[in-house]
Amino acid sequence: MSTSSYAIHDSATMLRRQLLHIVRYPGMTFGVLLIPVFMLLIFRYVFGATLGAGLGGGTGGYINYLTPGIIVLAVTSSSVSTAVSVNTDMTEGIINRFRTMPIARVSVLTGHVLGSVIQTLAASVVITALAVAFGFRPGASVAGWLGAIALVVLVSFACTWVSVALGLLARNTESASNYPLPLALLPFLGSAFIPAQAMAPGLRWFSEYQPFTSIIDTMRSLLLGTPAGSKPLIACAWCAGLAAAGYLCARVLFNRGATTARSR
């Protein structure tokens, strides 16, 4: 019964539901924006001059360095809202309704993923516009902008599948909002604010090899129009890996059966 056309139809229905949630509950989107906007302000106006001088480019230069990292931060900080909304679905009983209907099961999750990607794209647009207002001067070509958009979609897709899995894993909303925190914090330990070379040796090693450094560096070269080297390939590989791992875990967790907790 679950032919692929049903899967697409049902996913579209679930996406519509998710978009309605975003519209009905704008607090969640503001929550997604809060940390990146706060970081943008702090690092632009509080630490900007010092860090910029340290990197050898003045404040005008530092916001150019900073903004791509903030955009990636916006992507990862939305994982918290995804995990919470997946978990809410699982604990509110509506999921059991979906499970007893002849629909493509994966559509419940793809609805979340697609909704999240769209929400994150919108958040990235807001962040970029704010950054431009604060002095960000991107030097990207049209291809660079398209590449940046594609990268946001890709990273968001990967992070969302991971957070869907985390949302399914969590027993309650509190843990669902805590589990994705390491993911949301990874960009801080990457090249979002300062290059890996400027870090202490142990951290520097971690920073160089963790996924978000290559992702942020790729975003930076796309937006500033600077050469990227092998970073885009590594970034894409990380995204594909995270997405696949997240998807597989999510599928296993989702099929684990009805929430056994309230089975009597």
Binding site: T13, R16, R24, E92, I94, T100, M101
Partner: protein, 330 residues
């Protein structure tokens, strides 16, 4: 689909389920004829919800077989799902969506034409008295409204077999009666209803057949009348002014069991006007004064007590070992 399953909405045998080392279902067998209301009656933790979850393809049984709408729940879950609707004890509505949007979500997921979906949604909102709330988010609804929206969402799918897991738990008496009427109307229109309840009154009121589930086992099954016949029949209780009258009456009436403390005498009888007159005539003939007389017909509370050794499940809160309820005359 086989010959023997013709006309059966549900046919299950040997259903077993354990969560960890707790045995929840210990070999349950059920058959439900199409177009009837079946009530699974039992206290909290008896395994009612688990039974519904297995039959509605939500969780697999550890052992046993179940066919719903002619399809094996394990082998052909999607064919079963296409035939059923489930409304659980926790309202499964989307809190952020409005009444109409919730119903349209169901219309879209059942691949209904959007215009047809809209028409049916309006119809159900009207029928369930939710029209005023149609444009408001479900999180603003009262408990009774949420239950009705929940059921309306299930009915968008036009299920042939409807599972209702404790549909009236926590509802006020008025909402409960409304729900009962809705269920009766559905069955009149040809739907099969599988109902779980811990209210004896509800099972008595609605169900064609009742099965009593206790600790994962069916302890009885039949119509309400058949079940009532399982327990010692009705009786008449006479109360006397003093022990002398009680003793005198006990000596006269056959099969009577006196209670010296309460000054009452329990006499077997069906409570018909004729038997009562005969009883009173006997006492009258010997000038024995009777203070009060009550007639007790057996109800499902007695059945439950007799079958499970503990009092009716709906009497008090969960896990209550409360006093044995003798049951008031009805």
């Amino acid at each position: 689909m086989t010959q023997q399953n013709q006309g059966l909405a549900v046919a299950a045998s040997g259903l077993r389920k354990s969560f960890g080392d707790k045995v929840v279902l210990d070999g349950v067998a059920l058959t439900i004829a199409e177009g009837t209301i079946f009530a699974l009656l039992g206290p909290n933790g008896a395994g009612k919800t688990t039974t519904v979850q297995i039959l509605s393809t939500l969780i697999p049984a550890d052992a046993g077989e179940a066919r719903v709408a002619g399809h094996d729940v394990r082998a052909e879950p999607d064919l079963v799902r296409a035939a059923i609707g489930v409304t659980g004890q926790f309202a499964a509505v989307d809190n952020l969506l409005t009444g109409t949007e919730n119903l349209m979500l169901m219309a879209d997921l059942s691949h209904l034409d959007r215009r047809e979906g809209r028409r049916r949604a309006a119809e159900l909102l009207e029928e369930f008295e939710l029209t005023d709330a149609a444009g408001k988010p479900a999180m603003t609804f009262s408990g009774g409204m949420r239950r009705r929206l929940d059921l309306a969402m299930t009915l968008m799918l036009r299920p042939r077999i409807l599972f209702l897991d404790e549909p009236t738990a926590g509802l006020d008496p008025r909402s409960r009666r409304r729900m009962w009427q809705i269920v009766r109307d559905l069955v009149a229109a040809g739907t099969t209803v599988f109902l779980t309840t811990q209210y004896l009154e509800e099972a008595d009121e609605l169900a064609d057949r009742i099965a009593v589930l206790d600790n994962g086992r069916l302890v009885a099954e039949g119509t309400a009348d058949e079940l009532k016949r399982l327990v010692p029949g009705g009786h008449v209780r006479l109360r006397f002014a003093g022990p002398d009258e009680l003793a005198a009456a006990a000596g006269v009436l056959a099969g009577a069991s006196p209670d010296a403390e309460a000054l009452t005498l329990r006499v077997p009888g069906d409570g018909s006007a004729k038997s009562l007159r005969a009883l009173l005539d006997q006492l009258e003939a010997r000038s024995i004064e009777t203070a009060t007389l009550t007639v007790h017909t057996p109800d499902l509370d007695d059945v439950f007590l007799a079958l499970t050794g503990h009092s009716g499940p709906g009497a008090e809160g969960p896990g209550n070992e409360g006093p044995v309820n003798e049951g008031e005359p009805r």
